[in-house]
Each structure stands twice: as C-alpha cells, then as structure tokens.
Symmetry: C2
Subunit: 144 residues, 2 copies
Amino acid sequence: MRNEYKTKARGAIMEYLKSHSDQRFTAGDIYKQLNQNESGIDRATVYRNLDRLWEEGALVRFREPDSNATLYQYFGEKDTCNRHMHAQCSECGKIFHLENEFVEEFTDHMQSVYGIDIDPSKTMIVGKCGECKNGDTEKNDSES
Amino acid sequence: MRNEYKTKARGAIMEYLKSHSDQRFTAGDIYKQLNQNESGIDRATVYRNLDRLWEEGALVRFREPDSNATLYQYFGEKDTCNRHMHAQCSECGKIFHLENEFVEEFTDHMQSVYGIDIDPSKTMIVGKCGECKNGDTEKNDSES
DNA sequence: TTGCGTGCAAAGGTTTTGCATGGCA
DNA sequence: TGCCATGCAAAACCTTTGCACGCAA
C-alpha cells in the first residue's frame, strides 16, 4: 500500500468538486477553475489527482458520447459506490446511488437471464430526473 | 433534407462493420483495417462517415471509460433499438438487446422510486458476459 | 530524511477543419 | 452540370510521461 500525502492540489480539487457536487467537470474545466483562484496547479497534476481520486472511489468518472472528454464528479460516501450502480440525469447531471432492492433484483436477472455480470463501476444509467422533467425552465411545450 | 450519395468510403465502412457486428471499433481501427484492404480511404473520411452513420442511427457510438477513443459498432435493425436498453460485455463487446419483462419492471421502478425516466439511447449496461466469464482464455485463476 | 506529489516541458493519440479536387446523381 | 464527399495537410484538443525539485510525514 502506498502512503498518501495530503497536498495542496489534492485538497483544492476535492474542495472544488465537493462544493459543486451536482455538476460534472472535465479535467480542463477544473484546471481553469483552480487557476482562476490563483492556485498555480498544473494541468498534469489535475489529471493525476483526478485519476487517483477516481481509483480510490471518491469520484465518479464517466464519458458522454457527446463530449470528447472525461467527466468527473464528486459523490459523497465512497465506500459502497463500487458495489452499486448509478444513474445520472442527462440534463442537470445529478447522480443517484441505486441502492435498492429492485436494483439488486435487476442485477440478478441480468445474471440469470442474459448471463451478464454487471460492472457497476462501468455502468451509468442515463435519463431525465423528476425535477428536470417538471419544473424545467426549458422545453415546456416545444415541438408540439 | 440533404441528399446522400452512395460512395465507396461509406459503403466500405458499413460493409466492414456489418460483417463484424459483434465487435466494436475505434475510428483508428477502421481506418487501418480499410487501408489493409487497399482502399485509399482517408482518416478524416472515416471520422466523417462514422459520425454520419451514427446520426442516422445505423451505428451505436459509445465511449469506454478505460479507452481514450470513441467506439462504433453496427447493430442491425434500428427501429426498435431506441425503445429498449442495451448491455455490452466489457471484454468481447457483444451487445445484448434488453427486451424483457424484468427490464421493463426495472424501468418502471426507476421511474417511481427515483423519478428517473431512462433514456435507452444513452444508457449502456456494462458487464462481463457468460462466455467471457467461463471459457475465457485469460484470468483463469489470477489474484486468488 | 524519505519518498511521494508537483511543476515543467514535451510528446502521443484522437478528432476536427479548410480548401481544392474528384465523384455521384 | 450541380452538389456532396473525399483527400490532403494542418491544427486543435485531450491526456500521458520523464525528470528534477519541493514538500508532507
């Protein structure tokens, strides 16, 4: 096991992601953001830390088919996140931790019916969340 | 609407993907493959066509968190695929069309419990399929 | 002091773009 | 012929890597 140091860069990145836990960012986003705040953190350092934090389970990492870059997002407790799936709203980016009985049933069925052993760390259910469906400021009555 | 020409490049790309519909390829893969077969197709043309074909719904496009590139794969009939989810084996790339009752139940539960309206076109369940779990030539008894 | 993390700089890989030419209808 | 697609070349973009130095423990 490796010893992990508590460094300035690591702290700054986590702090930023924590305080914006409802959004997802590219490494580039974070780099720009941190350098606006006068912290002279290198681009490579951002990448290295994001990678690290993701491996440790502190962040979700995920690629959209639309964008060209990898997105990162903080998501709370990190112990159990490797064991359950996650869903994400395609509009606001909010992440849902799927820790529910019916999800386990689904996983079991996938196993028995299709023979597939779901890898929660690689799977992201994507859809539109309730808030974005209702109170959304856009798309109220478009293309009707 | 734009008129679409039937060109050599377009045909070659589709033909290749169709005859390997159980695999996924990066644009680079396809470029190399086509040029082995003496067709002088440019890299940019490959990108442009893949993009086109994806927009038309003839291909699945999808990014793995591990690899750095976008993967494309042919997938047969395109009429109903927007209505159900898909799963993909993380090893062999095989795609499963999830048209089953329990999948609908899962979808319904996601709706009622989390308020999420799943978008099948953006969701990909990732895991290891039965064949890759058993008969796999690698990883027989590693890290035990 | 030890060795991990950072900054710096450079390189690698993927994808996009402009422009003139070639090919389909 | 008219317009779209292609080839070519260059650039943009994202990400990784090597190395020496700084900093946390």
